[in-house]
Symmetry: C2
Subunit: 255 residues, 2 copies
């Protein structure tokens, strides 16, 4: 875990090269200027920043404020460090789309390189997918008698989240949102409808499943003939947990 305090640029370059080679995490606090060129371009004059280089070839330049890095390059870059004219030049090139990030480092306060032991799995609960799973596991939460025919069903403009049939044989076309549903969802659903047909004598029932409807979209929804079924992430998670439990019980009763 080498840590250098106010190293010379050449000491830093050596440690950086070693760190890159070993695919370590290198963290640096340094005064630098930054140029980006690729899909567009950017310029940032000299100033002190936090620079992070990761083993998978991504680089982040953070200022003293803001959530997002001011400049960066995602994973999969080729990163090189050169001495140049009394400065340390860090270059990160992304092959596709071809773009490059160049840091000219003038002075380094701190440089450390680390190997992070981290085997933990990251688990994210509750997303649109969980809502979809909840509906698929327990279709009658939409309404009694509702049956799933398909999900992620392909139509030319995209994918229908859930596609099913109600107790009267009408086709139900469901678009799921985990956030309050606004105009775009309504448009998207109406677009899908153009490519779907109900059997003779039956109807198409477009339906939005979401925690709520965005304020400004209430009236549009009413006019559009789209139904709304409330489902919060929390309720979806509860359903999934209930099923996880009953799955376990089903398993136990089998043994």
């Amino acid at each position: 875990m080498p840590v250098l305090i106010s190293p010379s640029l050449d000491e830093a370059r050596k440690e950086l090269v070693v760190g890159l080679e070993a695919r370590k995490l290198v963290v640096m606090v340094a005064s630098c200027s930054v140029e980006y060129s690729g899909r567009t371009g950017s310029h940032l004059g000299e100033g002190e920043r936090l620079v992070i280089v990761k083993g998978d070839g991504c680089i982040l330049v953070h200022r003293g404020h803001d959530y997002q890095p001011v400049n960066w390059q995602p994973s999969g870059c080729i990163i090189q460090a050169h001495a140049n004219d009394g400065t340390l030049v860090l270059k990160a090139v992304r092959p596709s789309p071809l773009e490059s990030l160049t840091l000219v480092v003038k002075e380094i306060q701190f440089l450390g390189s680390f190997v992070l032991q981290d085997a933990a799995e990251f688990i994210l609960h509750a997303s649109e997918e969980e809502m979809q799973r909840a509906i698929i596991l327990q279709p009658d939460m939409i309404e009694p008698g509702f049956k799933i025919l398909d999900f992620e069903k392909k139509v030319p403009p995209g994918f229908v989240d859930v596609y099913g049939v109600d107790r009267d044989g009408n086709i139900v076309v469901i678009e799921i949102k985990k956030d309050p549903a606004g105009f775009p969802v309504i448009k998207q659903l109406l677009e899908y409808l153009k490519y779907l047909q109900a059997p003779p004598g039956r109807k198409l029932r477009p339906m939005i499943v979401a925690p709520s409807i965005a304020k400004g979209s209430q009236s549009t929804l009413a006019k559009s003939g789209i139904e709304f079924k409330q489902l919060t992430l929390q309720k979806a998670v509860e359903i999934l947990q209930k099923y996880a439990r009953s799955d376990q019980q089903a398993l136990k009763s089998w043994l």
Copy 2:
């Protein structure tokens, strides 16, 4: 610029509290577990990570790989550090939407706190806005005789990027994209058209200005009656530079 190597949790907590108080940048390499709860929730078991806390109240937890942080909280959070049961607990609460991030730190390899001197301005070149400016500065790059009537013109579903008239008095409705234009742009433009009318005897000419058309959208575009005018970011930047130059010349000739 205090830097602690393998500090005790209590030493680290003290330095962290001082750093937070002073709104410094605190960087930490530590073994920790992370819980997030808010719009959704997440869990990450123990492992070594890079933790960044900035003066504006944002926090980032980075693993040894990936561009994006595994957990985070954006600016404007209330961040606190407590000792708890032989661990150091870092909590970041975001008021709206209400959500919280909790790190339980077991062991610290490194902790540094920094004040970053950074007054530089960040300049990003060439975006959709640059393309719009290029068209506005030199309307006849669209076609000879084209005149601007308005831009960012409000229609119920959104804003028309550029709104103008051709040499024959037909209304040209332009939607600009910096990336290859696909289905969504076509839909958006057609949506806008519903709320626009040409003068009697004139036509509405919907037009997409973009570097290219997405492959799958070629036929849709053809059927839709929308025209396509190629403009790359690069060409837009050239036009802007030309005008910058001629502005300077105009200025010089004035003096």
